[in-house]
Amino acid sequence: MSFGAFSRPWAMIALAFLCLAGQASAEPVIHRIEPLNLTIGQTTLVTVFGDRLTQDGREPILWSNAPITWTVAEPEDPKQSKDNSRERRFSVTVTDQASAGVCAIRLANRDGISAPAMLLLDTEPTTKSLRLENNRPCIQTFTAKQGQTFYCEAWSRRLNQDTDLIMSVKNEAGTTVASADDDEVIGFDPQLSFRAPATGTYTVEVHDNQWRGGGQCCVRVSSNPLITSDPTAAEFITQQTASPIPLELESDQYLTVTPQTRAIGSSAMLLMELHNTAGQRVAQTGTGDTSDEPLRFKVTQAGQYQLHAYDLVERVGLPFDLNISTDQAPFVVQLDGGSKDRHVIKPEDEFKVRFRVTRFRYDGPITITCPELTLKDNIIPKKRNDIEAKLQLRSPASANPLLTFQFQATATLDGKTYTTPVRTPQQLKRVSKGITQWPPGLDGTCFAFIKQEGAKK
């Protein structure tokens, strides 16, 4: 790299601007958490590594979407400074009510709120949280009796780690007896079920596809998988066949068909087609995208329609759920990418947020509301795609300075009111599209840290 460019004035100005911008951002940043798993019903000492974790010697607030309680714990090394803003330790207890799967945590203080970090909520206490090293596999050993079945799972990509793992199970002689790479449903995290051919000690080896180090993973070996999918338990219609679904639709209705596949443990890749009474295809979706993309259609002619849903690669017998609705809003509103989902505000202050809408054959106005906030300029006008609203706290701040809230977008059309939650920008860039076990409470939830009057700045 040549430094010649930095002799130019514009480059120096840009560099100075970048430095200033970096200083201006003072929110906590989480780099790594150890361990990466919490056992449900137990207390775990969790160390968070990052930047600006403390503020003026004050500990941050820990938020999670899971039912946990937490306290600040003494550092592992007693010599460590209490002001170490790059490493903090917490004692975290997961209540018995927690569901197994992925949860998110954030750290908040008066200067900001961190992006979420992901942890595994597990029922199996032997699950190991491991750190990948360059050119070396992570290892977890277990003993098995002949004929015993084990489920070996790696959790990493689903925990927002930049990894692509491969798993192999080796016997005492070092011979590979089972291996797994990508899983059709969950993607980059391998998992396998393994029936021990002989009694003995087995080793689960996990390494990155490119033998990269730095990432983290949880290796879980148990007689049961952590999450068992039961498609038939879903509330929606479960389709086991590709036979068309008749739909009686009225003129001017907005039809939205939302499929679920991976979320219910199915590898189906749905291709959906809507045919009119003449058998002509009037809408189609799902050509190759693995995310469960909804089919949307505005009915212009009332009548009997046929909804065809089949697997893109024509596999049969794969379950899927369809939520067929004419009540879903014909638009999707989300916070603009530039607007963060987290803010530090004073109760009396006004702050601004930009909303952006994607319309589906609906041009009318859309109103944004939030019970906790007073909004001004909160109506996206007709045919407009965005609006910058002014927001202010509606009620006095509570004892908890960290407030979470959600926006709703509403429109009335032909006497019918459509309401949909406002989505928040993607916070987990490393997580695949179409991820299963998306932690509830992440998408659509906004945060505000309320600075109390007279508090030390």
Partner: protein, 839 residues
Amino acid sequence: MTIQKLIAKSVLVLLIVVSGTPLQAENELHEEADLKIDTIQVGQPVKLVISPKTFTLDGKHQQLQLIVTGLYADGSVADLTRAASYQLDQPEIATVNQRGAVVPKSNGETTIRAKAGDASIEMKLAVTNAESPDPVSFHFQTLPILSKTGCSMGACHGSPHGKGGFRLSLRAFDPSLDYRTIVEEEFGRRVNLLEPQQSLLLAKPRTEIAHGGGQRLRPDDVEYQRLVQWIREGCQVDPEPARCTSIRLEPGEGRFLRRPHHVQQMRVTAYFDDGSKRDVTHLAVFESSDDTICKVSRHGLAVGQRRGEVAVIARFLDQIESTVLGFIDTVPNFDWQAPEPKSYVDELVYQRLKQFQYLPAKICSDEVFLRRVSLDLTGLLPSVEQTEAFLADPSSEKRPQLIDQLLASDEHALFWSQKWGDLLKLSTRQMGHSGVLKFHRWIKQSVANNQPYDQFAREILLASGSTLSNPAGNFYRTGSDTSDITESTSQLFLGTRIGCAKCHNHPYERWTQDNYYGLSAFFHRVATRQTGRGDEAVVWMRREGEVKHPVSGQPVSPWLPAAQEHDLVSQSTDRREAFAQWLTSAGNPFFAKVEVNRIAAYLLGRGIVEPFDDHRDSNPPANGPLLEALAKDFTDHKFDRRHIIRTIVNSNTYQATAETNRYNVDDARFYSHFQPRRLTAEQLLDALGEVTGVPERFVSVHPDTKATQLPAPDLKEHNRGQIGEIEFLKVFGMPERQTVCQCERGTDSSLGQALELFNGGTVHRMVSSKQNRIHRSLAAGEPHDQILKELYLRAFSRAPNAQELQIGLDYLSRSEDPGSALEDILWALINQDEFLFQH
């Protein structure tokens, strides 16, 4: 002495570039006067055969080429067409010229009697319409003449942009375009109806006006006269021309000509859709697949140059036909001796060698065999321990045992996966980092498990779904469109380079443009789409969409060679199923042959068909029966690739020494001896690492991965830098994998390679490293003779002979710095042919 000093002192035997036989220049017209033709010795044939037995010449422009064959008591045959004398019962009907061509004179019937030696034979000839006007046909005379003279060939006016502003369709593929170009374009300046000889169309090839293509016609040529006449007649175009549906080339296959009978007259008969047939020998274009063995004159006389086998190719309009001729020389003092055949491979190779009088080489030594088979099956040199154990083993079964052991090794699976990586274009550019690694792992698993080849092909061709969970689907990411996939599939599994037929009928093969789009129809509905999940793409079949013929604009239905109607229909909506079913069926004429030929090429250094992915009638196999037998064995063993590899490497043919004898020194085709070949780039880097003890370390892959086991040439270190000594590998020919053609892998030698070996960074680093094997041995106090012995065992899989050892020890004793002296010796060893070549 430093390496640099040694450069000045050392003499490196330059690597000899062994390239394939140069192709005959397209449409080089051989005049018979220019060919060295032995005087035909008629002798005493016991019988004559004449072809055809009867014929009708319809019109004054038609001709008939006779072929007179003499059969001799010793079973040999000779073409006596030009040596025979001809007598006609009715001489006013026709004449027979010195080439044995019959030219009509008037209507009527006659008997033509051919006589050679004491034998004679007759044929019946009828002439009709000799007096009718019979204008020169644009379709069947003008265009074939332009094709025969080379005007419409790809290198001249038949190129897509023409030459000098004059563009013809390639080999008269589009007659209406050609007519417009010749007669109407440029205000008709190319033809002069009043003074036909002054036409630009004739003046240029006469070189009366400067012509980049040189002289193509002379005024006394029949072809020239026909063109003059066509212009004089007003450049007429046939109102409703019959369509030529096929041509026949005679004599058929299986003709072997023993010197001095090294000539053979060919005849081409064209068949039309109105039921007629014409002799078009004088209008056809002839080529030989190997001009060093046989040249074919413009009149269709094949003249043998040396012993060997060639395909003679005849082309008329867009029709092509070929036949194989063998030329045998009598080798003085040839006395057939061969080791006892070990299998049908040896039997069939020896049969062919005996036929052409090549003496097979002796069986190679254990040392040579161990090095050769290790490099071929694993890509790696054997270790010192393996070498010593193998050489000390007295068992007569040690070679087959070693072969089985190597075939079962992980290294074999990885090395042969790299070969498939070349063919399937595994590169991050095509399928992303994860895609490459996953596809490579899938291939390796297939090789390691010895997956039957038909299943392997089916899984690739029928792949669908996520490329992460079904990595074979990455095959469909290696092509940018249907054409790419069709051409790749055709070359990989049918051994046919069909790409030419995309724009016009294949110039060297029977494949037509219709065939091309018929094959494309199987893949046209394949769709791929990136999902945004890492390097994932999804492959699926659309339920609609047809490939359209570029000329007619009409949808083209799926088509397969020699397939029945029901073969073309898939059981599901996935059309590929029908293709895969047809492809992998036991009766498929291409599938098994292509793979066994590929395996033979990898092991024997040359395919039975060479290039090994270019199977066509005009490129005959060096040993057809061997190819058939291997293909049958392959099919009988349920497409077991390992069985074929084992069969070949266990044969005497594979285990023959590379040293030639006086009877096989000029053979590079029939496997009379092993063909030495330079180590591939990856083999060389691994071998250097093994000999020096400084193996190349690659990142982003398993830490012990060798160059011969790399999944792709363009992996990057964590998506940033290079993963290792990629530049060294590129200099030695590592392919970038842009095509499915094995020819992309460089096998030649270059100045850059010589420089790399003299004082390139990689070699210098390995040789001079203080942690390398020789310095470690010195530090451990090993005696010099032991170090030298080990060096030889590692580099050549043999111990040094007494002279070599003494030279090395003398050099060490004269040197003040043994470490530096050993570096010199090491450098000298790795610059020897014995190290650089597989032999």
